[in-house]
């Protein structure tokens, strides 16, 4: 089952690194994307903001380094919780975007 989002964005805000009760490191952040896209043969401005989370051994490697940075991220979308349908991007890969 396909569930894959690829996005370049600015990291508007980055939370403190924290750990789940099971000891898994978790890094939450808020991403802002702006771009031009084509739709029905028309160019249009596109903007969106999305919460993202990086869970596991990558989290401490990136903690404290992302706020304000341009990044390219990919991962899957999940709703925040059973009762909260807000979409969260679960990051599998992150890299800085130059320039």
């Amino acid at each position: 089952m396909l569930n894959r989002l690829q996005l370049t964005a600015t990291v508007e805000r980055e939370a403190e690194l924290r750990y789940t009760p099971a000891g898994l490191p978790v890094l939450e952040m808020w991403l802002k994307h702006q771009s031009r896209q084509r739709e029905a043969n028309l160019e249009r401005d596109v903007a969106c903001e999305i919460q993202a989370v990086l869970i596991g051994k990558q989290a401490p490697q990136w903690g404290g380094k992302l706020a304000g940075q341009q990044v390219a991220v990919s991962g899957f979308l999940a709703q925040r919780s059973l009762r909260n349908p807000r979409l969260v991007l679960h990051i599998e890969h992150v890299e800085f975007v130059k320039g």
Copy 2:
């Protein structure tokens, strides 16, 4: 700038085909995704619901045919409007998923 979502989902609801004031056909729908994904070397259940829109000449081709169907869609994410940050998938490609 990357902004690409690929998702397999069930079309929970499909609106009537409508036209913008400029005459562009618009087909709105609500998608439900469920799958298993790997995160931090652990398998986990993932669910999410997202509103989607198909704008342009494809819209009339699919109108009335999607409700209840399993589809594979791809496109870009945008917030619903300047004041409404809810994420909407703007579909560029849709196909039925067999079985």
